[in-house]
Symmetry: C2
Subunit: 496 residues, 2 copies
């Protein structure tokens, strides 16, 4: 046996038992792995194919084929008349190792070297704690969603999609856009047609696309409500905008306090996020006037405005817009379920081409099956029925919640008037920080939220937020009663 065989024998190449088909693959893969990981060093001469074949107990043809493959892949080199060698080009490749990094990777740009969480304190899903009483904000109650119907529509959409496989319209399927236009015209008094709609992967992508086309990095000033939806802030930050915050009171954003340099103003007129109050008509008119005067754009985030409990049918801000200033952002996360990932923008005509191009650049279009199923869900009237049903459900739960707060937390919490949506916020009447209550409540098995989670730095309002989508009717009163105890304990401890 040639001496060049030793390193090969040292590899202990194993061959498949019995079958024949896998022998070449097996020899080839194992030799390649040995070259890759350095067991066979660059420059090493390999035994002749006949020697290799005998040593391994394979046919000569197999050995020849294995060498040929490795030669063509560049793992081996043939030197004329001098045999076969492990390629020197391999020397360029050092052993694989996860680089142990100290500090931030310099390859990443500044923002992404240390990306902020989407929500402050957000934890990975798997690590998220479970609560006995869940008053999380932003979770709908999907237990009453007509899933059998939805499944049928998804199945049908999957069948239809087999006839149309090419990339779809970046703006969104025409049928879905028509259905959304009809829906928002009816429920939110927004005058629009299918052409005005841009379908997005949820409101998150809507914000991202808007930031993309409207923000010039390091120059554009964006005004956020002092308390706002943190993921929107992160999108604005990632786009490189300069953020200014604006006070919010019971009538909504204080328009007089918006910096005249702001070119984008982000608001939640139906149900201030997180305070809950609706923006007054006067403020709406003043905000539109501000936008017109300064050439500013307005992003109206109507995240849960479908659910309305007041006497008055509160329209969208967009309804009053006579000057193509307002981008209305809607989502199906709250009326269907969060992981559906479909939302939309009702966009002024002057921005539409840019938004559609940005959507196309970002992900070509939203998955067709989801769009088609949703389209049928709207046109067949299931959405209207579901919203009607859920409005009754949420109205009842909201009453239970407000009743329980009045009964158990009368000296502790004062709810902020609101007329829509899936959560309420209440002012803390005791001199204890909401963040402290939050922490103690969590230890007691209650998830509530603090207004300070929705602000940059200190919140001007010391308040707690209560979502009622993720909790059962039967648990509302018990949860609030337990919370009242928690508040009593922390506030009495503070004032001995």
């Amino acid at each position: 046996l040639s001496k060049s065989l030793d390193p090969i024998l040292a590899l202990g190449i194993a061959l498949p038992k019995g079958g024949r088909g896998g022998v070449l693959r097996s020899v080839h893969t194992q030799l390649r792995a040995a070259i890759s990981d350095g067991r066979l060093q660059p420059g090493l001469q390999l035994p002749p194919t006949r020697t290799l074949a005998q040593a391994l107990g394979v046919s000569r043809n197999t050995a020849v084929a294995a060498y040929d493959l490795l030669l063509s892949e560049g793992y081996l080199q043939a030197r004329r008349g001098a045999g076969t060698y492990v390629s020197e080009a391999r020397a360029a490749l050092t052993p694989r190792a996860r680089r142990a990094r100290s500090g931030k990777p310099p390859e990443l740009n500044e923002f992404w070297r240390d990306p902020p969480p989407l929500f402050p304190g957000m934890r990975p899903r798997a690590a998220a704690p479970r609560y006995r009483y869940n008053f999380s904000i932003g979770e709908p109650d999907a237990s009453l969603f007509p899933f059998a119907m939805w499944r049928r529509l998804v199945g049908r959409a999957a069948r239809v999609s087999s006839r149309d496989l090419l990339p779809s319209e970046p703006q969104g399927r025409p049928e879905l856009r028509a259905a959304i236009a009809k829906h928002v015209s009816f429920t939110r008094a927004i005058a629009c047609g299918a052409d005005d709609i841009v379908v997005t992967a949820g409101s998150q992508q809507a914000f991202d696309l808007l930031a993309r086309v409207l923000v010039t990095s390091k120059r554009t000033v964006v005004a956020l409500e002092e308390a706002h939806y943190p993921p929107l802030r992160q999108v604005i930050r990632a786009a490189g905008a300069r953020i200014v915050t604006v006070p919010v009171d019971l009538e909504g954003i204080v328009v007089d306090r918006i910096s005249p340099r702001a070119r984008i103003v982000c608001v939640t007129p139906s149900h201030q996020m997180p305070l809950g109050s609706p923006m007054s008509f006067e403020r709406r008119a003043a905000l539109l006037q501000f936008a017109r005067r300064h050439g500013a754009s307005i992003i109206e985030d109507d995240y849960d405005g479908e659910y309305r409990f007041g006497q008055r049918p509160l329209d969208a801000l967009q309804t009053l817009d006579r000057d193509e200033r307002v981008f209305y952002v809607g989502t199906f996360s709250k009326v269907l379920f969060p992981n559906i990932r479909v939302g939309y923008i009702v966009a002024p005509s002057w921005a539409r081409a840019a938004l559609v191009a940005a959507k196309q650049l970002t992900d070509r279009h939203t998955a067709v099956i989801m769009q088609d199923a949703l389209s049928a869900f709207l046109t067949e009237g299931h959405l209207v029925r579901h919203v009607r049903k859920m409005t009754r459900v949420y109205a009842k739960r909201r009453e239970l919640l407000l009743g329980a707060i009045e009964q158990h937390c009368s000296g502790q919490l004062q709810p902020i008037p609101s007329e829509a949506g899936l959560h309420i916020t209440a002012k803390l009447l005791v001199p204890t920080l909401a963040a402290t209550v939050l922490e103690r409540a969590a230890a007691a098995g209650i998830k509530v939220q603090a207004v300070s989670e929705f602000t940059i730095g200190k919140a001007t309002l010391n308040g707690l937020g209560f979502g009622y989508g993720g909790i059962a009717d039967a648990d509302v009163a018990a949860g609030v009663r337990l919370l009242a105890n928690v508040i009593s304990q922390v506030s009495s401890r503070r004032r001995p």
Copy 2:
């Protein structure tokens, strides 16, 4: 009747027949619309509720409720003891009109004021012409896709998703990531686990996320192959990077010619886009060395590398990467169908947190139903079976195409050697620009592509690209024969 009633009567308010429930809504909506569009002017006094009720034939209560609603919405104002008026605040709002814009909207940032098309000459789907012979690049043949199975998996995923509605993992469903890791380990010899995978909305979003985290606007230099995938270029441009192009020959990108300032190098090692040649082992090694020396990252776009026809099992560039330099981008657009919109990145560990955060910021996560259906498709072995079947189908069609070119276009076209993918490219041997051939071919009902469609400015290679996913076996020869006539005509016309 009071004189103040005249403007109201002029509105011709229509009431619903028969039913009672809609009367208030109807009166309220029509009055509001009239105020909104200026038929009822700010400051106008409205008739007393009793008068209105009589005139319209509705109950007094209905008239009172309608006024109350309009008052609370701010459309009306009550002046103490002096009746009800159309709100003066309305004066702030001018009539709605689509602004007739001259020039570009100043609200949009510079890039998006005039966004380039994703592909040069791209037209909206509805306006895209149909061809008798379609040799488009990038279209798979989905007619043989097992849609019945797919539909079943989608239906099952829709059923399961009803138990888990909250936002899902931004990195992608763990089961899908595990299935993808297994798939690419097996088919592309990529050593990775579920943790290394980031699920994206197609490769388009993969490029976008990579540009987001790696590019610093106006500073980062990105090297593209001279001929490349235009949508990738647009993503890089939109991120504000400085683009340099690098010559490509039959061994792939000419590494010696990459600017040492390049911090990102984008390549298509399995099947150069669009030339078709595989990158040689020496170039792969040299490119990895370049990346290591300069701290550069490599984006490996393996858009159709699943289909391999050569003797040698061509691995991914990532397989040779020992220094966490390569981002491998894969897609299911070519192995399933384009509008599924699921792709993935196999990412170095140092960039993963940033990519996941960017994905979350962009759209939270990809739709769960699509992820779960795909996950089942992979784990149940349907993907491997489908790729195996389609490799046979495409291999045959590719042979037909190469045979037809040899037979009919021998003096006109010289195919570039390739071993994978869904298209081939051929050099034009006649002194006629590919773009000219393209145009005449289109007029004759043939869709082919020109290398110049994939370059910035003039292409160094005057060649035509032929996709074979969108054409039936039976049409290949006839299409090529007809093309040969077209080429004869245009080239003889050029040389009289």
